[in-house]
């Protein structure tokens, strides 16, 4: 039974992937990309990766979809010139050969993976008790491989600095995104007034429950970011200017707290990012609580792009 479902899933995934490739109009291709992302969520579920499925739905399909749709709608006039620059037959044949070779290598790799597969699941199960959390993925992200999570938060911040640096000099310190033109009393304004309180509760809940069940700060932060983006899109609040001190503190605060607690661990527990006996769960909660608003602001601003208009006085 699941085989049939998987076969259908695979068929649809490949059809949509081909669609994003061959669709003549970029906007149509992007329109195929979003359901492709949602189908991937089902694929993760088929592979029993629930946390990953939530992250894919939130970030892979959701935020990336919004990003691409917004860009495609602004770049409509570049369709024709781009189509005229299509590479010749020779390039396409070479590219097809290279792609087929890589695909074959990946396929062979998948088929040749050893059986029984080496796994760290028993090691995680053995050591999870000392981390105080029940969700093994949270344990890996926040304890065993906490350095990767810290570095990832820094990567996001660095990406945002890079995006902001693209602004024209005259708009530096200004606000990203177009000026709000929506009617604050229209349907979008209505949604932006009703949904965010629910969204905030959902986001915080996802963070909270991520300690012992599927969930976590990335998924929760995405919901919060989406709520803020909705409010900005509806014109109820303007995007923040990038030179405001509170924006910068909000962005850097999460990783800073993470590093501080890591250093605390170095002093008290004998290892950077180690947790003292019995204090693991509370400290992890503190770090996640500090990271949640930082991540939400970062994700929303990554979508908003570089400053495009004046920021007004300080």
């Amino acid at each position: 039974m699941t085989e049939a479902l998987t076969l259908a899933l695979v068929g649809l995934l490949m059809a949509l992937a081909v669609w994003t490739l061959v669709a003549r109009d970029t906007f149509a291709a992007v329109a195929g990309f979003v359901p492709y992302g949602l189908l991937l969520t089902l694929a993760w579920l088929q592979l029993r990766a629930v946390d990953v499925a939530m992250t894919e739905a939130a970030i892979g399909a959701g935020l990336t979809g919004v990003l691409l749709i917004a860009a495609a709608s602004r770049l409509r006039s570049t369709e024709a010139p781009a189509w005229a620059e299509r590479p010749g037959v020779l390039t396409r044949v070479l590219a097809a050969i290279v792609s087929a070779a890589v695909a074959a290598a990946v396929g062979a790799g998948v088929l040749l993976l050893p059986d029984p597969a080496p796994t760290l699941a028993p090691a995680v199960a053995q050591n999870i008790a000392s981390t105080g959390v029940g969700n093994p993925i949270t344990a890996v992200l926040m304890s065993f491989r906490a350095m990767d999570t810290l570095l990832e938060a820094i990567v996001l911040l660095l990406g945002l600095v890079g995006i902001w640096s693209l602004a024209p000099d005259r708009f530096w310190g200004g606000r990203p995104g177009p000026a709000p033109t929506e009617d604050p009393n229209g349907i979008l304004g209505y949604l932006a007034r009703v949904l965010p309180p629910i969204g905030i509760v959902v986001g915080v809940y996802i963070l909270w429950v991520g300690a012992d069940h599927p969930g976590g700060k990335f998924q929760g932060a995405t919901v919060l970011a989406a709520m803020w983006l909705l409010v900005m899109l509806a014109g109820l609040s303007d995007a923040p200017a990038v030179d405001r001190r509170w924006v910068r503190i909000a962005l850097a605060g999460g990783p800073a707290v993470f590093i501080a607690i890591g250093l605390l661990g170095a002093g008290v527990a004998g290892a950077f990012l180690g947790y003292p006996e019995g204090l693991a769960k509370p400290l992890i909660v503190v770090v996640e609580a500090a990271l949640l608003p930082s991540l939400a602001v970062t994700l929303a601003l990554l979508l908003a792009g570089p400053p495009r208009r004046e920021g007004g006085g300080k």
Partner: protein, 114 residues
């Protein structure tokens, strides 16, 4: 052929399709989309590996799943930077072409220099 293997082969096809699109598409936004397709294929490979590592009461090996979450978020940040570059390029030059412009790039005049 069980589910993980089937999805693993699907992942291989996605990687190939994404790579083809990345090389061949002239429009940068399509290249970014193809990059995401290729990335998702690679993530699928990792999820297959995680599923094969099920044990100790878990449905899948949690370490690769944690790696996947990190990689998904980093890929989004990369897409955001790439899209921001494409949009700025369009604003600056009116085109998103990646082929060499008519004039070779002039060296930048750094701030402070005349």
């Amino acid at each position: 052929m069980n589910t993980p293997t089937l999805l693993g082969l699907c992942a291989a096809v996605l990687v190939g399709l994404g790579l083809y699109g990345l090389i061949v598409s002239p429009h940068p936004l399509r290249k970014i989309m193809a990059f995401n397709v290729m990335g998702n294929g690679i993530f699928l490979v990792c999820a297959v590996i995680a599923r094969r590592g099920a044990g100790a009461g878990m449905g899948g090996d949690p370490v690769p799943q944690a790696l996947l979450i990190t990689a998904l978020v980093v890929a989004f940040a990369a897409s955001a930077l790439a899209v921001a570059l494409v949009l700025r390029l369009f604003e600056e030059t009116g085109s998103t072409s990646l082929t060499a412009q008519a004039a070779a790039p002039q060296p930048a005049v750094a701030e402070g220099e005349v």
